[in-house]
Amino acid sequence: MKNKHPDEWLKMLQTAFQEVLNEFARGVTNLDYQLEACDDESLHRHIAMVEMFADDFQMHVGLATEMSGATFLSQLLLGDEDLLDEYLRADALGEMINIITGRIKRNLLDEGAGSDLGIPIVIEGRLIPISRHECHISTMILCNQKVQLFVLVKPYS
């Protein structure tokens, strides 16, 4: 398939993120999403991402948030009653991005385009894009929690 402009990838990511989270929240709570004008140049410290690739593109698709956002997202998946520890929070974020990228893969298939996925990677720390990679970020406010959605790509051409 032909590569897309980073803004198109971000749009697909936003859609899949909302679809997946709405399904997890179904019957429990209503989620309120707002896109925020984004001038962020760096990602928050709790990062989960998956590599997506096909013949004509290769990128990492992910989300990043601060501790309170990571806890919020993890509890959304696991339920409020569960006691979160560091491992479980990371595991939940990895599963979340795994499911979101699975949804993007399925949506791409609906467009007639195949793609492959790597395994989820979870990072607690600072991600520094190197070697001609560009990080395109959109910021979503979800129930007062700031979640950055990002694609890490080589420059679009």
């Binding site: 997946v20 399904e23 997890f24 179904r26 993890s74 998946l77 696991l78 339920g79 569960d82 491992y87 479980l88 595991d91 939940a92 990895g94 599963e95 795994n98 499911i99 990228t101 699975g102 949804r103 893969k105 399925r106 298939l109 996925l117 395994i119």
Partner: protein, 116 residues
């Protein structure tokens, strides 16, 4: 007795919560961390149903399913995957899965997969 097989503890918790919501009592749910452990458990005792992730280290869900069927076990097997494409579903069903359900899933999806 239900066996939940997934290398992600978070996902095992999610499946177990959905099973409880579907009316399964907690003491009727067992778990395994990968296909290899799942295969050992599934061939050493009888389960009513197995919920199994597709992508796992050591032994994947589809390898587990094929090995289980080769061992002669006909336990109801439900594959759980984040990539529920038509190809994946067909591969799972052809290998002997009763159902292939995509993540995220609802308690109703779980009930249907259980045949309730």
């Amino acid at each position: 007795m239900i066996l939940v097989v997934d290398d992600s503890k978070a996902m095992r918790m999610i499946v177990k919560r959905s099973l409880r919501a579907a009316g399964i009592e907690p003491d009727k749910i067992d778990e395994a961390e990968d296909g290899s452990e799942g295969f050992q458990k599934a061939t050493s005792q009888d389960y009513d149903c197995i919920f199994c992730d597709w992508n796992m280290p050591r032994m994947s869900g589809i390898e587990f399913l094929k090995a289980l069927r080769e061992s002669g076990k006909s336990t109801r097997f439900v594959m759980v995957t984040s990539i529920a494409t038509p190809d994946i579903k067909e591969t799972g069903i052809s290998a002997g899965a009763a159902a292939v359900i995509g993540k995220p899933f609802s308690p109703d999806d779980i009930k249907t997969a259980l045949g309730l």
